[in-house]
Symmetry: none
Subunit: 251 residues, 2 copies
Amino acid sequence: MNTSRPRGPGRPALTRTDGTPIRVLVVDDDPDLAEVLSGALRYEGWEVRTAGDGVSALAEARGLLPDAVVLDVMLPDTDGFTVLRSLHTVRSDVCVLFLTARDAVEDRIAGITAGGDDYVTKPFSLEEVVARLRGLLRRAGMARQLEDGPRLTVGDLTMDEEAREVTRGGELVELSPTEFELLRLLMRNPRRVLSKAQILDRVWSYDFGGQAHVVELYISYLRKKVDAGRPPMIHTVRGAGYVLKPAAVGP
Amino acid sequence: MNTSRPRGPGRPALTRTDGTPIRVLVVDDDPDLAEVLSGALRYEGWEVRTAGDGVSALAEARGLLPDAVVLDVMLPDTDGFTVLRSLHTVRSDVCVLFLTARDAVEDRIAGITAGGDDYVTKPFSLEEVVARLRGLLRRAGMARQLEDGPRLTVGDLTMDEEAREVTRGGELVELSPTEFELLRLLMRNPRRVLSKAQILDRVWSYDFGGQAHVVELYISYLRKKVDAGRPPMIHTVRGAGYVLKPAAVGP
DNA sequence: GCGCGCGCTGAGAGCGGGCTCAGAGGTTGC
DNA sequence: GCAACCTCTGAGCCCGCTCTCAGCGCGCGC
């Protein structure tokens, strides 16, 4: 217990190999979006800085030497590809996650994913951004392995994030993308009650206009697939939210 | 500082005989292309430097003493063959992979390949460059064999990269060049979901302007040949991509 | 014990991701 | 110069996914 900042999950944080927090630089010209993003990343226990354009991004990078950079492709002064090149001269093994509009010129993004970097299209969900970043850091060998690789486990429920495979008691459970994302959030916060608003904020895109009712719906879907006939792991806390726990041992 | 870490897939990385990362120098006057190339090679866990012309290439080479060099034939100051000669004075056993335009002087290239080096014509795919480099290093005895040679195996599916032979359950499977390249990528990343964008970036040429639709098409071709009538190994993960797994056991 | 309202679930519409077929254009080899 | 093959585009179809709506059960406060 040496954490200096209020951190969300009780789960072990992903840290650098020397135990200090992962350092991330968020670069986006929309201050609101940058704020939301950095909030979510701080929640992971990481150290976050922000920048609004390419020039200040590079300046920040030189000072911070970040492990990873979240980088909007469309910047007021330059484009992301140029920034990427410069970033690599600052720190050659930096991980970069691009943010791009869905219908943007994807040809310039081409080649990015091949280099080990990754991208998500706007509008994205925070869970997705965090998951991609974790994946990048893990593959780059930049993070200390506190868990056994890319596998999440709660009770007899396991999730392999890379293979996108979920099993309960050894049996394969097939999930749709949204179901998978929701279960991932629950599994990364076991024994912690998450409100519908929290879930909505993290699993659904930030521009989602719908109501919290979808959360109930997808919880219902998950129960059918994950709890089906077995001792329940997904519990409702009336008036508060939902919580995932290992199934009770009793008869 | 250029500390290459164990990047990329969980598969064992090809390393030097002493276990340290393979050292590669990328020489191309197009900075974007050099960036993409070095990204892909770093993803292999190799240590990469870049240079934009013949003079700085030689300077870098003297410092790095690279195991292999990816060398554009057309350079702003000299041509690749001159650089090749100088490189051999720096390190006589260096492996060289030439990058050349399709209609370049192929007769001069022919002489090169006789010497143990190799070449690819622009535009190329990253998978091809990486595969050729791996082949060169392996033949030169420069890399530690962590896998059993040039043979990939997933379940009852095998691929001999050098002979370009693929078998499923002992039966020969005949593939077109693109199909082969796509299957190689899948086999080098078993149990890992690859997005269509990732596949496009690695298997298709960097100047390919088309849509991700071709990936679906070629997956469909592969299924007809690889999975034909057998328990399927190629799986679609809706909204995420494709994954290759050993066929499920049991009925 | 009663009623309110939160939460659960079934039905179904709309959409878009993914698969396949057909065919054009290009390349290779004979 | 022709034939075979390979690659890619376009169109059409199917179906899984997502979300809205509506009705019902049940927990909880009174």
